[in-house]
């Protein structure tokens, strides 16, 4: 169990997370939902070690054990689909590339460059690259943005079967309905649980 206790983050005089607490089970998909600016992305970045929390603690995981899918794709224009995966996989795990491509429904695109992919395909490549990382918690910031709903739900079902838990941000009601755990952040801080 991963436990966030009383997390507090502020930028200047703006409080983004105010004594926010959360429990993430050891498996399954936890979905975070809420309006813009309520601190969803900041929470993911704190767990990934990219932002510092001014208060509170995170137990059961360290930033080095997480894998973060950024809100934007951040693909490398000079690397092919396959290379994006082999860049993060150790050589001993390169055999997992077809499985990752199948999970994100990108089979047959191995040699394609990001400039030739559609927006949804680029998003799925970014997701596949994130899942290629060996992590104990996957933090996915809007992983289904630009992906058609039936495909998003199919991928979500596969994410539920991953050996590590997934904490994802989504606004899509159908995705929220399929979550193992749903956390709605109703507005600006404070979010006390």
């Amino acid at each position: 169990m991963i436990v966030c206790k009383e997390l507090t983050v502020f930028f200047g005089d703006r409080t983004v997370l105010d004594h926010f607490s959360l429990r993430i089970p050891d498996s399954g998909v936890t979905v975070l939902s809420g309006p813009s600016g309520c601190g969803k992305t900041t929470l993911l970045r704190v767990l990934a070690g990219l932002e510092k929390n001014q208060g509170g603690t995170v137990e059961g995981i360290s930033p080095q054990q997480t894998a973060l899918l950024f809100q934007d794709d951040r693909l490398l224009p000079w690397r092919t689909v396959e290379q994006h995966l082999t860049d993060v996989l150790p050589k001993s795990r390169w055999g997992e590339v077809p499985a990752l491509l199948a999970l994100t429904e990108l089979e047959g695109e191995e040699k394609a460059l990001p400039s030739t992919l559609s927006g949804g395909m680029g998003r799925r490549l970014a997701l596949a690259r994130c899942l290629a990382l060996d992590a104990k918690l996957y933090l996915l910031d809007e992983p289904f943005a630009g992906i058609d709903l039936p495909r998003a739900l199919r991928i979500l079902e596969r994410l539920k079967k991953l050996p590590a838990p997934v904490l994802l941000v989504s606004h899509e009601e159908s995705v929220l309905a399929q979550a193992d755990q749903l956390i709605r952040l109703d507005g600006p801080p404070p979010h006390r649980m």
């Binding site: 990934a48 070690g49 990219l50 080095q64 894998a67 973060l68 950024f70 934007d72 951040r74 490398l76 224009p77 000079w78 690397r79 860049d87 993060v88 460059l113 400039s115 690259r129 990382l133």
Partner: protein, 265 residues
């Protein structure tokens, strides 16, 4: 138009696209030489502004000698060594000054001074410190270094912060970050730096050869044309220098184009 006709017209179109500009300037040159000829008697024309055909004849007679290639290869070797050293040192300094604020404060003023100082002063100083044969390479390197440093420093500062954050979050090693993020992002800056550096290396290297007269060298031959007032040969050697500089620049561009094939803008 049949495919075979299209294939035949392709090189013709290319020639028609490339030829007008040089033809225009050769025409301007011919007219100017004619005007000089009308105002000067005897060989005066050959001393002030020779006809293109005289330069062409001088070039052809030079090309026929074995000595010509020895001169060209010797200069090419010296300047290529200088260019390579300048590029490597400039790149290394760009990395160092970006990585450490202390190094930046220490080294940046010295590099800026090297960029602003007159090349003739450097040539004379280096001539005193080393043998005459080494001066062109050292001068080329010294002139190239600040240009490469400046261009690559700008490039390093312009690398996408989001990609660097990705590299950090995905636990890329320094080597991997350099290879996968920095190097490809720097490609346009490397291209600019190398093409500017190649031209500068030739200019400064040949200037150093003219002043130091290493044997054999393009600069030495240019110096001798002044000595014997052989102006067509001066033009011919200058044309050789320009052609070599352009060929080197094209070669570098072609190599970099191959590197960025498929993804480069």
């Amino acid at each position: 138009m049949t495919p075979s006709t299209m294939e035949w017209t392709k090189p013709l179109k290319k020639v028609l696209y490339v030829l007008p500009a040089p033809a225009f300037w050769v025409g301007v040159w011919q007219v100017c030489a004619l005007l000089v000829d009308r105002h000067v008697d005897g060989r005066g024309n050959e001393l002030l502004l020779p006809y293109p055909i005289s330069v062409w004849n001088a070039l052809v007679s030079m090309l026929g000698t074995g000595d010509f290639w020895a001169v060209v290869l010797a200069s090419l070797g010296r300047i290529a060594v200088g260019l390579m050293c300048g590029v490597l040192l400039g790149a290394a300094l760009a990395v160092v000054t970006h990585g450490s604020r202390w190094c930046d404060r220490l080294l940046s003023p010295a590099i800026r001074v090297a960029r602003a100082a007159p090349v003739a002063s450097f040539i004379l100083l280096v001539l005193l410190w080393t043998g005459r044969n080494r001066v062109p390479a050292v001068i080329s390197a010294l002139m190239v270094l600040p240009v490469v440093w400046d261009s690559l420093s700008q490039g390093i500062r312009a690398v996408d912060r989001k990609l660097l954050e990705l590299a950090k979050a995905y636990r890329f090693s320094r080597f991997k970050t350099g290879k996968l993020v920095y190097l490809p992002s720097l490609r346009p800056y490397i291209l600019t730096a190398l093409t500017n550096a190649a031209g500068l290396a030739w200019k400064s290297g040949v200037a150093a050869e003219v002043l130091c007269l290493p044997d054999p060298s393009l600069g030495q031959r240019i110096y001798y044309t002044k000595y014997y007032l052989d102006i067509p040969e001066l033009f011919a050697w200058t044309a050789v220098t320009v052609a070599l500089s352009m060929a080197l620049e094209r070669l570098l561009r072609a190599c970099l184009a191959k590197w960025g094939k498929g993804w480069a803008a």
